[in-house]
């Protein structure tokens, strides 16, 4: 059935990965959803009111007092993580007490995007200005932890 030892090994590895025993993991953590430009086009400084902003965007995650009124902040966080545990195969050969030791040989790579959209209101609740504190996109992952940050 299998032409070579390599094919047998690859099939065994694939089977173990498919039943969730593998040394590879992708994990993503997301807080809220990002806004796009079209979601925010309705906000006009000097015209739009707090009620309008809340009706379209929901309640802000935080409010901060400013000398002229207040700032409403909407948070967004997105992270992706990739793990490979190179010590995982050793767990099949080591005695039970040493099962944690091989898992120190782990390769991890993570990317994080954090964004905050802010709308400033005057004391009567009319928008003064709006803007993003950062403009990161959904994170990608570098192939290696040693490569340069783009």
């Amino acid at each position: 059935m299998f032409a070579s030892r390599h094919e047998r090994a690859a099939t065994l590895l694939l089977a173990l990965v498919l039943i969730g025993c593998g040394p590879i993991n992708w994990t993503r953590v997301i807080l809220n959803h990002p806004f796009e430009a079209k979601d925010l086009a309705f906000i006009k400084p000097g015209e739009t009111r707090l009620d309008d902003v809340v009706r379209r965007l929901g309640a802000p995650n935080d409010l901060q007092e400013t000398p002229n009124g207040m700032i409403a902040e909407y948070y967004y966080y997105d992270s992706m993580r990739f793990d490979v545990d190179f010590g995982w195969p050793a767990g099949f050969f080591l005695p039970p007490g040493a099962s944690m030791a091989p898992h120190q040989a782990e390769f991890t790579n993570a990317g994080v995007a954090a964004d905050s959209f802010e709308v400033a209101f005057d004391k009567s609740g009319v928008v003064q200005y709006k803007g993003f504190s950062h403009t990161t996109s959904v994170p990608g992952l570098n192939n290696s932890p040693f490569s340069q940050v783009p």
């Binding site: 039943i19 969730g20 994990t27 997301i30 309640a59 802000p60 007092e65």
Partner: protein, 115 residues
């Protein structure tokens, strides 16, 4: 049973859900601080913004899914702000619910819009 290996779903909450019917009982210009506390309990945070007291109630919900080697954690919050005038009467209510749309997902790739 072998096919269920590597599957896990879990959820977590920080804070009690905000009862929308109780939130709608808060009326601008009529409801007092004491009545808001009787309806919703003590606020999670009290702020002062432009000499107005603001009660902030919040709740966070998390849904996590793992299938085989893929995991995803979705988190969202509900926030309620109640603004009071200087006499302690409600002036404005700002409420948003994001947790109703929170989903169990496991696929970690792709854009989040339209999830």
């Amino acid at each position: 049973m072998l096919g269920l290996e590597g599957c896990a779903f879990s959820r977590g909450d920080l804070g009690a859900p905000l009862d929308a019917s109780r939130v709608s009982d808060i009326k601008n210009g009529r409801t007092t601080e004491a009545q808001v506390i009787a309806l919703l309990g003590a606020p999670d945070r009290i702020q002062e913004i432009n000499k107005r007291q603001v009660f902030h109630y919040y709740r966070y919900a998390m849904k996590h899914g793992t299938v085989l080697v893929f995991s995803r954690v979705n988190i969202a919050s509900d926030d309620l702000y109640v603004f009071f005038d200087q006499n302690g009467v409600v002036e404005q209510v700002v409420y948003g619910n994001r947790t109703n749309n929170l989903k169990f997902q496991f696929w970690p790739f792709g854009h989040t819009e339209g999830d």
